[in-house]
Amino acid sequence: MEEERGLVFLIQRYSVQDGPGLRTTIFMKGCPLRCQWCQNPESLSLHPDLMTHDTKCMLLGKCADACPLGAITIDRKSRKIDRAKCDLCFHCVDTCPTKALSKVGEYMTVAEVMAEIERDELFYRRSGGGVTVSGGEPLLQWQFVHRLLEACKQRHLHTALDTCGYAQWPILEKVLEHVDLVLYDIKHIDPELHKKATGKSNQRILRNLHLIPPHKKVWLRLPLIPGFNDSRENLTELGKLGQEIGVEKVSILPYHKLAEEKYRQLGMQRKMSPLKPPTKRQLQKVQPLIESFGLQVTIGS
């Protein structure tokens, strides 16, 4: 039987923010949540996406010629893609000499991903790094991820799973077999607010967190969105939660607007986000508050 492939949208070598040391992060495609602040919109769908890179486009028109559906038009000033017509055949990507179009997402075997991972083995050993599986939400492709993590452990590599926790417990439990460190996202403590901002309640997420066996290391990750989850009350509850679970540390990931461009590149309709990045002062308040629960807190990974 042919091996089932995983849909990977990025393998980032020299990854330094997803766990200790120098790592390779495998970004899996597909996510059950729709967070308003999502930084990786290319991760959301469970199929490859077409991404444009306008700064590289020289309007050579090869893509328009190659498109069997006539979804691409070029005039003197710009290239337009009719996303409604596009059926994601990616012929245009193959013909573009300047790489101004790309296909995001490749179906890969575990062996293919491992070949990439093994390239930097020496760096992991020297830095105490390893492999992180992230997303999207890696648990959507849990069978593949499980096999991938198993392959990593067979090679004695340190493994981390970066998850939003939204999955059935037996799935998470199974995947955790081969995970050394869990990077666990907590967007909000309140179920209603969580649902409003991400599309799903956090009940299952919080329940799963409590079920993680105590010998697994956990880092909580809080994407800090001013006006949404930076209230004293929410942070206090987060601190208590961290204390209760006995997490190794809490990482605060300040919201930023750098991903706006990606939405355009994917042709995704989106209103300008009203969200604002935290100011330095806001950040400085958050850290000691969580630290007061005896937790180690870092800004960033």
Partner: protein, 824 residues
């Protein structure tokens, strides 16, 4: 891990004031070398018309005058004695001075902010230069007249250019770079490193006594003087050694007297005491073995400086500076004479002296201006293979980090047992003075040297005496610093046009195979190799001839006296070699590798483009073929991304190029070799090479260094680049130059642990060398203006990884604003 701050030094240290003194500032007004060049600023520097030297810099004609007088006075003598006497005449009569606050003395020119010249080496060049682009160095008309007179004497005597009268016709044509565009013959200076440890044991008096004993022995051996060829040469050599070494000893005495005179006139009691102490030190060294660190530093400076003003004209140091002084520091400290801070202050005085020297030499890069780089080596393993790091390793780094002066650069030797503390100091240092540091790998160098036949213990003692050049300190090695710049991609171009220069239309190289018949990269490689062999034959004909002439006309009696075995052998260091290292500096390797990979992918493997179509596009500089050019630029795999498709072409290319070079022998019968010192010259020597299949246009720049990826093509991050670079057979080929770019935030991330892991893995991978361009906000601003140069600049902000140049301006602005916060 915390980046340790060392205890604050006393704020009122004299060296802090002194470093602002113009006397210690870099003399050249541009050409900051690798840093400026590697950031692509050089063109701008030239466009801005900055003068090659600072306006207050003057030419000192005293050395030229005294050497010439000395030569004239000794015209009846054979060359080695004539040269020894002339050099001694110069030393005994040159002007000495002591600058305020100096605690280590030894000037090179007759006054501060001046440059000495070497007419016996390159009077023809000087004659033109002082009336040409260096005119402003010589405002005094009388001096100019005198210098012209001096140069007249040297016209047919100076070695530089002498070879042109002797070269066969068919080689002479190729002497001129403009006739062929492949290589630029460069005399360069010569470098050699005295055995300071031995000098510190015996003093120069010990050297004189050894030479006298050998002279006595030679003159009383009837068997020997029956063979005058041998006997006379030895006798003259020993006499020359004695004359020049006595003159160097006398230089110490002269400085001692000057210190005494100044002490007598000095009102300030503290300074008077310093001058009295200096007088005592100079009376004692370099004649006798130093007893304290201060004496050792002074003795070192006399021997180093005098060796250089006599005949070592360019870059090069090559001592293990933390090793040679450590025993003195340790003793002083144990006996309560000195603290770490006091020792560091003395070290800073030495650093100042490195910056005080100046000489006018032909630039090795036509457009870059004069550049003298002094490199000294720290760290590494001992001769027994143990870790050699000591307190002075840190002391030299502290001194350099605080002073911010150009010279000397520090070459840090790393090896598997390098202690964590040294890595932490390196981390602090590259953030403070990234341009000062370069890193060399014992794991590569020791097997590399042993492969050349250097014994293990000596191999462990290696140093870097220039950018990339290795030397074994204290051994009889006097090597040409440069030799020849070689624009390798021009050889590929000749292969593509069967030896015809596309610009002049002339048949310059051999008529090699027709590219239209090529079916694989192997065919292209063979064409390239044949072209290379042809041009190397010309270059090494010149090289070997000049080596003969140098040996004939420029013996080095003082260097011979202070390196091992010359006195024992009775031969000058030009003649007796511990290892005759002769090197050339090729550039543009990665341009060729990417070109070969591009042809393999698009022409030979995928057959998307025909060779005829490619040749046509190249011939016309891609005019009207932008889509084709973009295809060659973007589609084939590029060097530096850990992709075997191109990397293995690279490995093969380095090995085969090296094999061609090594197939030529020098006059001592040993293979010539390549060297990574081509460094930043890629921007000069790319100027005669036409469009290449990697998408490069006519005359555009090659890649930087000898192994660094072409600008904007390394898209997989620093680890992938290091992996690509590690695939070259470093130990089996030559010393490669590998530049890497980081932002300070990136270096600091995770308390620097990642950066240290990177350096440790560099050692594991057996890569020869690396240096870091740690750039900040300014770089990002520049990247906005010149996105084409920064394709590889990855910005990392929590949750997002993107190429900086891929982002729109507002987003870039945001990142620039956020860099200061360095999130994540």
């Amino acid at each position: 891990m915390v980046i340790a701050e060392k205890p604050k030094l006393k704020e009122d240290r004299i060296t802090k004031e002194m470093r602002k003194d113009l006397a210690y500032q870099s003399k050249s007004g541009r050409g900051a070398g690798r840093i400026e060049a590697s950031e692509g600023k050089v063109e701008r520097v030239i466009e801005e018309g900055r003068m090659p030297y600072r306006p207050e810099i003057r030419l000192c004609i005293e050395r030229a005058r005294l050497i010439t007088e000395g030569y004239k006075q000794a015209e009846e003598d054979p060359i080695i004695l004539r040269r020894a006497k002339a050099l001694a005449h110069y030393l005994d009569n040159r002007t000495l001075y002591i600058l305020p606050h100096q605690r280590i003395v030894g000037n090179s020119a007759s006054e501060p902010c001046s440059l000495i010249t070497f007419p016996e080496k390159w009077s023809n060049w000087l004659e033109k230069a002082v009336d040409g682009e260096y005119q402003m160095l010589l405002p005094d008309e009388k001096d100019r007249q005198e210098l012209h007179e001096i140069h007249k004497y040297w016209r047919n005597r100076s070695v530089h250019g002498m070879e042109r009268r002797l070269l066969p016709e068919d080689v002479l044509e190729y002497w001129y770079y403009n006739n062929q565009g492949v290589f630029m013959w460069l005399h360069g200076g010569h470098v050699g490193t005295p055995n300071y440890e031995r000098m510190f044991k015996t003093g120069l008096r010990g050297v004189v006594e050894e030479a006298k004993a050998k002279l006595e022995e030679t003159s009383s051996d009837p068997e020997l003087y029956l063979h005058p060829g041998d006997y006379l040469n030895k006798k003259r050599f020993y006499e020359a050694v004695i004359i020049i070494t006595e003159a160097v000893i006398n230089q110490g005495k002269r400085f001692s007297q000057l210190c005494q005179q100044e002490a007598a006139a000095e009102k300030d009691e503290k300074r008077k005491a310093e001058l009295v102490e200096m007088a005592e030190i100079c009376e004692w060294v370099p004649e006798n073995p130093p007893r304290t660190l201060h004496e050792a530093l002074q003795s070192f400076w006399f021997i180093n400086l005098i060796a250089r003003v006599l005949d070592l004209q360019t870059s090069g140091n090559g001592e293990r500076i933390d090793q040679i002084f450590y025993p003195f520091y340790k003793k002083d400290k144990e006996e309560g004479r000195l603290t770490y801070e006091e020792a560091e202050e003395l070290v800073e005085h030495l650093v100042l002296m490195f910056n005080e020297e100046g000489a006018l030499i032909p630039p090795s890069q036509p457009k870059a201006g004069p550049l003298i780089t002094r490199v000294t080596t720290i760290g590494g393993v001992t001769r027994e293979g143990a870790d050699a790091t000591n307190e002075m390793t840190f002391m030299f780094m502290d001194a350099k980090n605080e002073m911010g002066l150009n010279q000397p650069a520090l070459a840090v030797r790393l090896h598997p047992q390098t202690p964590q503390a040294l890595y932490e100091k390196i981390l602090e240092s590259v953030l403070k003075q990234p341009g000062v540091y370069s890193f060399f790998n014992d794991s590569m160098m020791i097997p590399f040297l042993m492969n050349l036949g250097i014994p293990l213990e000596d191999a462990r003692d290696y140093t870097t005496d220039g950018c990339m050049r290795w030397i074994i300190p204290g051994k009889a090695m006097s090597q040409r610093a440069l030799g020849g710049r070689v624009a390798l991609p021009k050889c590929l171009e000749y292969a593509l046009y069967q030896g015809v220069d596309k610009f002049s239309g002339k048949q310059v190289g051999p008529r090699t195979s027709d590219p239209l018949t090529w079916t694989s990269v192997e065919d292209a490689m063979q064409g390239y190799e044949e072209q290379l062999r042809f041009f190397m034959h010309k270059l090494f004909t010149i090289y070997n001839l000049v080596d003969m002439l140098d040996g004939e006309w420029l013996p080095q009696p003082f260097l011979s006296a202070v390196v091992d075995d010359c006195i024992e052998q009775g031969k000058d260091v030009r003649e007796y070699k511990y290892y005759p290292n002769t090197i050339i500096q090729p550039v543009g390797q990665v341009t060729i590798i990417n070109s070969l990979a591009a042809m393999r992918k698009l022409v030979f493997d995928d057959k998307k483009v025909s060779m005829a179509e490619l040749l046509d596009a190249l011939r016309n500089n891609w005019e009207g073929k932008e889509d084709l050019r973009q295809m060659f630029l973007n589609e084939p795999p590029k060097w530096g991304n850990d992709d075997d498709y191109v990397d293995l072409i690279g490995r093969d290319f380095y090995t085969r190029t090296n094999r061609v070079v090594k197939s030529f022998k020098n006059i001592w019968g040993v293979s010539h070799n390549e060297d990574g010192t081509g460094a930043s010259t890629y921007f000069d020597y790319s100027g005669m090479t036409g469009a290449t299949p990697d998408g490069r246009k006519d005359l555009d720049l090659f890649n930087d260094g000898t192994v660094s990826p072409a600008v904007g093509t390394d898209l997989k991050g620093p680890l992938a680049t290091m992996k690509s670079v590690s695939k070259i057979d470093h130990a089996g080929t030559f010393t490669h130059l590998f530049n890497q770019k980081f932002t300070p935030a990136e270096v600091k991330r995770n308390d620097g642990a990642n950066f240290i892991a990177l350096l440790r893995t560099f050692v594991d991978l057996g890569i020869h060398h690396t240096q870091f361009n740690v750039s900040d906000r300014e770089t990002l601003l520049d990247a906005q203006k010149h996105p084409e140069k920064y394709g590889d600049l990855v910005v990392r902000v929590a949750g997002l990884a993107a190429y900086f140049v891929d982002l729109t301006k507002p987003v870039q602005d945001q990142i620039i604003a956020r860099t200061e916060l360095s999130f994540g």
